[in-house]
């Protein structure tokens, strides 16, 4: 009777593989003191998963009776998540050993969180959505508090956990309402079921609560308050992981939900104005507050809030903006992993990152040119300078918003990104144009040599940003194929 299991397991192989190795690592870690092989193992499984997913971007399939999607959209998103995880794993190894927190469970947690993210991003039903969300979130709470002897880390982990649990409550309640309104857990059955039952009031409430859960995960304003504290307190490379992979997963799930259970035009429901208003507030608040930050990790946290606003702008445009949003997620993952990666190399005890201000990094660019140049590329990409990938990401989501009649939103977005240039470029001013004498001596002397693997990741990120910027067409064409509405394909090159 279990003969359906085998093909299903094949279809979800990357998720299962990553989860399995995650569990294996827990066991290995408890029985052996030698943890040197653990990073290799986790890196290898991530590479294997990426390879499998890349091979089947072209075919769309589903598994476990439609509860989990595979191939096509799911593969694309999984590749982005896995790339984020891979970058974080590689950057974490020297960072954590340097800071003395190279616990084997880090890798187990990263892998299990990654598996959770993929489940979330590939969900075909509300159940898998919730399971994925929780698997991911709980791992992230633990990772935030990884540095047990640091008060600030503990504080931020607890905050994250409390608020996360709070928002999950809304999410779960939204699921209950949706089930109540339609009588089905499957996303794709919902529109038809809703027309049958006619319980649109219930349904709208359910959608609203579900959206709240997503807004919290992608840190949209005003559900963002945890973000700066958590990113500042968490180990730097893991903050990079959270800011990229978990957001990608949440956004992918949001696109699935929006794309599957909406269009609700038939029943007179519309989410676009909610998304548009939240996007506008998020872009403005995120960018303006980032201006006031002196600590770079906090600044990057607000920057990631602002970027969530840009991506929400794409989603507010409806099906027109989904492909652009996917491109954006990829670009954003690459540039943010890189930016956090550079910051991780400039720390040496795991605590300084919480205290380092922009002034303490004065002149680091000429001391460590590779870091300086890489950071330059990341900052320019984040602020959306052509020809880097960040520019095209913004262009695609804003163009979609204009085409969808949301010109005002695109305008706010463009103005907000003008503001962002100030705080991104300020980092470069500190890196290159300030004299090292102005900085703490400790940063200059103690910032450790850039390990080879970190260099490889940073250079790869730089190369990817340039390549994605020169040939954005490859990605958007692939992404556009997932949303085969005629308008969406007309917009894409």
């Amino acid at each position: 009777m279990y003969d359906f299991l085998l093909p299903d397991m094949g279809a979800t192989a990357p998720i299962l593989l990553v989860a399995l190795i995650g569990v294996v690592l827990v066991v290995v870690d408890s029985f052996s003191n030698d943890s040197a092989s653990i990073p290799w193992l986790s890196g290898a499984v991530l590479v294997a998963a990426i390879t499998i997913e890349l091979a089947r971007v072209g075919v769309t399939d589903s598994a476990f009776m439609g509860h989990v999607m595979s191939g096509g959209f799911a593969s694309f998103v999984n590749v982005v998540i896995l790339l984020g995880a891979l970058g974080s794993v590689i950057l974490s190894v020297p960072y954590l050993s340097r800071t003395g927190h190279n616990f084997g469970e880090v890798h187990a947690l990263i892998l299990i969180a990654t598996a959770g993210m993929m489940v979330l991003a590939n969900a075909g039903s509300l159940i898998t959505l919730f399971v994925g969300l929780e698997t991911m979130s709980i791992c992230l709470y633990v990772l935030t508090g990884l540095v047990r002897d640091n008060e600030r880390a503990n504080e931020s982990a607890l905050k994250y956990f409390l608020l996360g649990a709070f928002s999950t409550g809304f999410f779960l309640y939204g699921i209950a309402l949706l089930y109540g309104a339609t009588g089905t857990m499957m996303l794709s059955d919902m529109p038809a079921a809703l027309v049958e039952t006619g319980r649109t009031g219930f349904f709208a409430g359910g959608v609203a609560l579900l959206l709240i859960g997503f807004f919290f995960k992608v840190s949209a304003v005003p559900f963002h308050m945890w973000t700066p504290d958590v990113y500042q307190g968490a180990p730097t490379t893991l903050a990079g992981f959270m800011s990229t992979a978990s957001k990608t997963a949440a956004f992918a799930a949001l696109i699935l939900v929006l794309g599957r259970i909406l269009p609700l035009d038939d029943v007179g429901l519309d989410t676009r104005h909610v998304l548009a208003i939240v996007a506008a507030i998020t872009m403005v608040v995120g960018n303006v507050l980032a201006l006031a930050q002196r600590n770079i990790k906090r600044m990057l946290a607000y920057s990631s809030i602002a970027h969530a606003g840009y991506i929400l702008t794409g989603l507010a445009a409806g099906a027109l903006g989904y492909a652009g949003a996917l491109y954006y997620l990829l670009a954003y993952t690459v540039m943010n992993i890189g930016a956090f990666g550079v910051m991780s190399v400039l720390e040496w005890d795991g605590k300084q990152g919480a205290e380092q201000t922009i002034d303490s990094l004065a002149g680091i660019g000429s001391r460590k040119p590779l870091l300086g140049v890489a950071m330059g590329v990341f900052m320019f990409a984040l602020s959306g300078f052509p020809p880097l990938a960040g520019f095209f990401g913004k262009y695609f989501v804003f163009a979609a918003a204009v085409d969808a009649g949301l010109t005002w939103l695109a305008l706010i977005g463009v103005l907000a990104s003008v503001v962002s240039a100030y705080y991104y470029l300020r980092v470069l001013v500190a890196f290159w144009m300030k004299k090292p004498e102005d900085a703490h001596v400790s940063v200059q002397s103690a910032a450790f040599d850039v390990p080879l693997f970190s260099k490889v990741v940073l250079v790869a990120c730089v190369a990817a940003l340039i390549a994605l910027g020169i040939v954005p067409g490859f990605i958007t064409e692939a992404a556009g194929a997932f949303f085969v509405t005629p308008e969406a394909t007309a917009l894409l090159p």
Binding site: A204, L211, L289, G473, P493
Partner: protein
């Protein structure tokens, strides 16, 4: 096809990146001169072989190879696409063929330079940009190459950047070119404004759409004239014509292979390529054509008169290049685009040969210089000439020994026989002695100018006469350069015991190949009376090829055609013989210049001052711009613009600091904000 074109383009880029990055990050790699140079040469030689393959398999139908969409916005859709047709194939053959030879030459020439890896990285990058320029299917990719070659030219002119003079020359080239580039951009804007929305689907500035008769019909006569002239201004920048030619002579500050490749054979001809590519369009603007022809003719004669007064061997060749480019524009202006491209090709052969020959000579003279320095003749070894007056040598010019000055050369034919023979062949070729390549292309240009005059455009006779005079001057100054360098007796100090040697094989092989091409290269374009021009047939293809030509009502009678042919021959031979046997630069050395001085009288001063163009630009253009920037724009920028920007910045920062207060760090407050958000979202969903 797809793969071949990709390989042709990507190989130079890949090797540029490889040599550049390896050289930058792996200091040990910089020592492997043979590896760096070999890879760099292969990165151009393999594309050459591939292009030959494409050429042999070409069946007369233009093909467009599409790679990916570069950018798409509204009605604009720019593709990364390349065009394989007769014109782009000829240009690609020249670029990769001559390019590969010059890369090979550079292996020997740049030996021992600390920037060896950098040189090859730049040179390969240049080839990549140049290939983009000639293969592009649309104006924007062409512009990418156009800007790319400009950048590489800048980098290579300033290659020895520690000498401020070289950096200044690089800046000059770059800035002057920007003026032309600006006109190019404007032309593209005009075209886009006229065409967009009127074609099927998005418009990508592609040649297929642009040069279709329907599209050209969209342009009014005035717009067409404006576009043609704007492109021509762009071309005067890149191809060093009046009024933007001033950068090219200074560009000789770069290493000699660079002068040969970029500033003689390829990049400077891109303006001609542009006009030939757009010939169906430019032909429809007759006023623009007249202007092009006259500017070309004036540039040709002006540069030729300057060349006759120069003593620096590379400067003679530089002005000669400007002059020859003027010839090509003359050809374009009288509607003979295919002849312009023909002359681009033959000129690439003999001028590259001349430049590389001069490089070989300079290489030898550097050897002399080092030996003299070693012997103490040049007052070096830490002592100035005042301290050591006995050893100081008198030079025929002020300042220190200059390895490029022809006044201290002479008699080099004994020491550098291969360089001498190849240089002589190239000199005769450029002078227009049959049956060498230059004779046919130059004769065809003059004939076409005459033909247009014969068809009723009287101004064309004027252009033709200027062309004839320039031809005499060319023969004279090139023979002068050859004689001063290779004939007569050595004029450098201690010439009895200090001897230069022939250059290594990597340098002489390219010389021999280029000299051979200078001999046979002209046969693809025989004049009509001698059997007709292959290259005309190939490029124009009875109106189906990429290059357009005007329709002439009257044919020049065969007798006159023969007459013109012999006139050309007489002029070229007369010039050479006059310089050799009447003025006798060979036996008299630089003394012989006095005969020329006497002949031209006060005009000679104007020539040798280069018509004071640089000074005029300095006084009437540069100074006013700099002054107004200093007195008007800088204060405005500092007070008004900065004030507004800083004001907004302060305002936003103030808001930010206030808003920051919300982030209290207390988790209850966070939860409260979250609940507020919940209320808003619920309200919007349920009520909105």
């Amino acid at each position: 096809m797809h793969t071949t074109v990709l390989l042709i383009l990507i190989l130079p880029l890949a090797l540029a990146a490889f040599n550049g990055l390896m050289g930058l990050f792996v200091p040990a790699y910089r020592k492997n001169e043979w590896l760096i140079g070999g890879l760099g040469t292969l990165a151009v030689a393999i594309p050459f072989v591939l292009t030959v393959k494409l050429f042999l398999g070409f069946h007369g139908e233009a093909e467009v190879v599409h790679f990916f969409t570069w950018m798409a916005a509204g009605d604009l859709q720019i593709e990364f696409a390349y065009r394989i047709d007769q014109l782009s194939l000829v240009m690609t053959l020249v670029v990769t063929g001559v390019g590969a030879l010059i890369h090979l030459y550079s292996i020997g020439y740049m030996h021992g330079d600390s920037g060896y890896w950098r040189f090859f990285a730049y040179l390969n990058l240049f080839i990549f940009a140049m290939l983009n320029l000639v293969l592009a299917e649309n104006l924007l990719v062409l512009f990418l190459g156009w800007e790319g070659v400009g950048l590489c030219s800048y980098l290579l002119i300033g290659f020895w950047y520690t000498d401020l003079k070289n950096s200044a020359a690089a800046n000059k080239a770059f800035i002057v070119n920007r003026i032309g580039d600006f006109a190019f951009l404007l032309a593209m804007f005009v075209i886009f404004a006229v065409v967009t929305g009127k074609t099927d689907g998005a418009f990508g500035l592609d040649f297929t759409t642009l040069l279709a008769p329907e599209t050209l019909g969209l342009f009014g006569a005035g717009t067409l004239l404006a576009v043609a002239l704007l492109f021509f201004v762009g071309a005067t920048g890149k191809s060093a014509q009046i009024p933007l030619f001033v950068w090219l002579p200074d560009a000789m500050a770069g290493p000699t292979p660079v002068s040969a490749l970029i500033h003689a054979a390829t990049m400077v001809t891109s303006g001609l390529y542009l006009l030939a590519r757009l010939s169906p369009m430019v032909l429809m603007a007759p006023t623009a054509m007249t202007i092009i022809a006259i500017v070309g003719a004036l540039t040709a004669i002006m540069a030729a008169t300057i060349a006759i007064t120069q003593n620096d061997i590379k400067r003679v060749l530089a002005y000669s290049t400007v002059s020859q480019l003027g010839y090509m524009f003359l050809a374009a202006g009288v509607g003979a685009y295919f002849v312009a491209i023909f002359h681009v090709m033959t000129h690439a052969f003999f001028k590259a040969c001349l430049f590389l020959g001069s490089g070989s000579v300079i290489h030898g003279m550097h050897e002399v210089e080092h030996e003299l320095e070693h012997k103490g003749f040049l007052g070096s070894h830490g002592k100035s000439e005042e301290e050591d007056p006995l050893m100081a040598v008198e030079l025929p010019y002020e300042g220190k020994f200059d390895a490029q000055d022809m006044r201290t050369m002479g008699g080099l034919k004994r020491f550098m026989p291969l360089t001498r023979w190849t240089f002589l062949i190239a000199t005769l070729a450029i002078a227009g002695i049959p049956p060498l390549a230059g004779f046919f292309s130059k004769d065809e240009i003059l004939f076409k100018a005459f033909e247009l005059g014969y068809n009723g455009h009287v101004w064309s006779y004027f252009v033709w006469i200027i062309g004839l005079v320039t031809a005499v001057l060319t023969a004279i100054y090139m023979t002068r350069a050859y004689l001063l360098t290779f004939e007569g007796t050595p004029r450098w100090p201690d010439a009895m015991d200090t001897k230069p040697h022939e250059s290594p094989w990597t340098m002489t092989v390219p010389l021999v190949v280029l000299a051979a091409l200078s001999v046979v290269g002209g046969f693809v374009g025989l004049p009509a009376v001698l059997g007709g021009s292959e290259i005309h047939h190939f490029l124009v293809h009875d109106g189906h090829g990429p290059v357009a030509e005007p329709h002439h009502e009257f044919h020049v009678p065969v007798a006159i055609e023969w007459g013109l042919l012999f006139l050309g021959l007489a002029i070229a031979a007369g010039g050479v013989l006059f310089a050799w046997f009447v003025i006798r630069w060979g036996s008299r050395g630089p003394e012989a210049d006095t005969s020329v001085k006497r002949f031209f009288g006060p005009l000679y001063g104007t020539f040798s001052r280069k018509y004071s163009v640089d000074e005029i630009y300095q006084k009437w253009v540069v100074n006013p711009v700099v002054n107004s920037a200093r007195k008007i724009f800088a204060p405005f920028d500092e007070s008004a613009v900065d004030g507004a920007v800083n004001g907004v910045a302060k305002l936003v920062q103030g808001i930010a600091l206030r808003l920051r207060g919300i982030q209290t760090g207390v988790v209850q407050h966070y939860a409260l904000a979250l609940v507020l958000g919940v209320v808003v979202v619920l309200a919007l969903m349920l009520l909105g």
